[in-house]
């Protein structure tokens, strides 16, 4: 049994959460550059150039890429042969998020009592923690600062099995069409299919962790991703919503078994500031 201290988890989360907010992942920068080459609309190209320059400035000035430094979605793959010592894991993660907020001058964007009080928690906690138990003796941590502009435009549908793939595609395209300019296009889509209502939503977040140009290893699902991407880009929303060819930079779809009577579909929208960072202990 390997011993990992809760303090080491806190250190890693604090480091990753700041790193994610000050620099875009290399694959996202590459996707923005590819979009710049493909975009026909002058206003769309200007937006893409602005976003690439913004990424440079954020790193240079150590100013967050976006003022919405996100709700802290944290994924942990915990090896079965690891014992976390010195405190509970969820408290260690929250301590890391709070330290990142303080040290990185990030925004405290969380409110407690969303129905009535809506009182800012002051340190951007709690995180939303997804924990998976895996083989081995490592702790792999991935942070996904999730902005509300895109999150608010995400949708979930409990489709009928008879709706099938055409229904799924229509729902995804309609979700982006309704979202329009609000989720800061060009966007990414993370689509979760199957499981229960809650599992489909978690799958859609996990799909967002995939590298921008990486297709689903299943050729049929890869084809479905491409079909959704093409249909979404035909909407013409474009960078910034000012009109253009590139509305979406990538579609990642993940599926899981579901009930014979169900076809849950969660369409998660990620904004152009598609921030994430990973590390292992």
């Amino acid at each position: 049994m390997k011993e990992v201290s809760a303090a080491a988890v806190t250190d890693m989360v604090a480091k990753l959460y700041q790193e994610a907010n000050f620099s875009l992942p290399a694959d996202v920068v590459a996707a923005l550059k590819a979009a710049l080459a493909a975009e026909e609309s002058p206003q769309g190209r200007a937006v893409l150039e602005t976003l690439l320059e913004n990424s440079h400035i954020a790193g240079r000035n150590r100013v967050p890429l976006c003022q919405d430094t996100g709700l802290a979605v944290v994924f942990i793959e915990l090896g079965r042969d690891v014992h976390i010592g010195g405190g509970p894991l969820d408290a260690a993660v929250d301590a890391g998020v709070a330290r990142a907020q303080r040290e990185g001058y990030l925004r405290a964007s969380m409110v407690a009592g969303p129905c009535f009080r809506r009182q800012n928690t002051g340190d951007n906690t709690p995180a939303v923690l997804h924990l998976d138990l895996v083989e081995g003796d490592a702790v792999r941590i991935t942070v996904l600062p999730k902005g509300a502009g895109s999150e608010n435009m995400s949708r979930l549908a409990m489709l009928k099995p008879a709706d099938g793939v055409p229904g799924l595609i229509d729902f995804a395209v309609d979700t982006v069409s309704r979202a329009g300019a609000s989720p800061c296009p060009p966007i990414f889509l993370g689509i979760g299919v199957g499981g229960t209502m809650d599992r489909a939503a978690v799958l859609s977040k996990k799909a967002m962790l995939r590298q921008a140009k990486e297709a689903n290893p299943d050729p049929a699902l890869a084809g479905l991703e491409q079909q959704i991407l093409d249909r979404v880009n035909d909407l013409g929303i474009g960078p910034g919503g000012f009109g253009g060819r590139v509305t979406c930079l990538g579609v990642a779809l993940e599926e899981e078994p579901c009930h014979i009577a169900s076809l849950p579909v969660a369409v998660g929208i990620q904004c152009n500031s598609a921030r994430r960072a990973s590390g292992s202990i």
């Binding site: 206003q43 474009g238 009109g243």
Partner: protein, 182 residues
């Protein structure tokens, strides 16, 4: 490139703008988002004085990150405008000439903008670090207890935005999308 706007603006200034025009703003603008809008709209509804004079001014929908030492402001890009739709007609009734945010507005807001001869501008969402470089000073002037939701006075230099909804029925989100739809 771009039309220079120096607030306070007249109705003539904003009526001269068309959807798709690039603008560069230099001078003073005011920030407000959900909580500040809710409070200001309640005062307007009761016919009371506002704690800040908004006639001729530009309102920017933004909740910046805290400024790190040596900087005027933290990251400061636009937030989603539709959350302010319910309050916008009231805000425009006090002479606000331009609104900056991102994302579509309701038909009611578009109508109010046309009636007042005002304008709705978008800044690039996701460009908070770049836009922050155009803000030279920031001060919480109303509701400082709201933190990022306070009303700040921003001094800006060549702050870039694009006209989305103009006073003549133009809407870049609609026309841009129509042009590139397949």
């Amino acid at each position: 490139m771009g039309v220079t706007l120096k607030p306070p603006l007249s109705e003539e200034d904003t009526r001269a703008l068309s959807a798709g025009d690039q603008v560069l703003i230099t001078g003073t603008i005011y920030t407000a988002r959900d909580a500040a809008h809710s409070r200001l709209a309640a005062l307007i509804e009761r016919g009371e004085e506002l704690p800040v004079e908004l006639a001729g001014q530009i309102i920017y929908y933004v909740g910046p990150t805290p400024a790190s030492p040596g900087r005027a402001v933290g990251s400061a890009g636009p937030t989603t405008s539709s959350r302010m739709d319910a309050y916008t007609a009231a805000i425009l009734s006090r002479g606000v000439r331009a609104l900056i945010g991102k994302g579509e507005r309701s038909p009611e807001v578009a109508a109010a903008i046309r009636e007042c001869g005002a304008v709705y501008l978008a800044a690039v969402g996701g460009a908070g670090a770049l836009l922050a470089e155009r803000v030279t000073a920031a001060e919480a002037v109303v509701y400082p207890e709201l933190g990022p939701e306070a009303v700040y006075r921003f001094d800006v230099v060549k702050f870039p935005a694009i006209v989305i909804i103009d006073a003549h029925g133009g809407d870049l989100y609609r026309s841009g999308r129509e042009r590139y739809r397949r």
